[in-house]
Symmetry: C2
Subunit: 128 residues, 2 copies
DNA sequence: CTCTATGCAAAAACTTTGCAGGGAT
DNA sequence: ATCCCTGCAAAGTTTTTGCATAGAG
């Protein structure tokens, strides 16, 4: 990491950073591509640069795409297996695990929205 | 999921299942390939079958490979960013998050072993 | 014989690399 | 003139699909 070095902010970099800043959840290249026209090589190369400067964090999703977000306050992420969306969890989960240095927490499951949809579509349980 | 249906255990399937059973951590296709000779199509197709039968669980790792393990007692996984190994965490982490249905917990960070290595290699902190 | 499993090769999906041109200093 | 950023194309990696054959019941 060379967080000390100043990074030249080119047009491409500014576009990516702005988009990351305005997103309220992690984004992948596909998300970027939809909104700004930029070659994938430029995107991925700048992502590597940003990571080297400690400006963003990244992680794999279930759909084999890699997702990126600005590095801000540490927080957990919830991956919904139904809608495939990634949500930021700001609550402190109080996870402790002796001798392990935890840098990131990822939860997988069904988000509130998708649970509600399920209940409506198959109300058998609640009607019995 | 068709957990009710019985699955025919062919030679290829038995090989994969045996290997999964004997592994003490999740494995990817590369791990399998090293130990048994089997076409990748056969491997991946059987993995899909196993998942459909609720026999295994899978998840992405940081190295873009997908990892698989036998479905046993639910437990968390720790992904070490240094040695890239995946460890099963059997302790109950008591994670609660209202309205979210959590099916899987993944932690990223530095495992005890790699922390120890770090301390030895750069002992500046402890020597001061 | 029928039905499914397997192997090989090709395709698909996402990311990285090589290389030449362009802009900034 | 130099440095490095960008775009295009090609290559790389992992997983999936098509198709013909092999094998079980």
């Amino acid at each position: 990491m060379k967080q000390d070095t100043t990074l030249k902010i080119t047009r491409a970099r500014e576009q990516i950073l702005t988009l990351l800043r305005e997103a309220n959840c992690p984004v992948c290249y596909e998300d970027i591509k939809e909104r700004i026209s930029m070659d994938k090589a430029t995107f991925y190369r700048n992502i590597i640069t940003f990571e080297a400067h400690g400006m963003i964090r990244s992680f794999e999703s279930n759909n084999k795409k890699r997702y990126y977000e600005l590095y801000q306050t540490p927080h957990a992420h919830f991956f919904c297996t139904q809608c495939d969306r990634i949500q930021c969890i700001q609550e402190d989960l109080h996870i402790q695990l002796e001798n392990y240095q935890i840098e990131d927490v990822m939860l997988k499951g069904i988000c509130p929205h998708c649970q509600e949809l399920q209940t409506r579509e198959s109300p058998s349980e609640s009607l019995r």
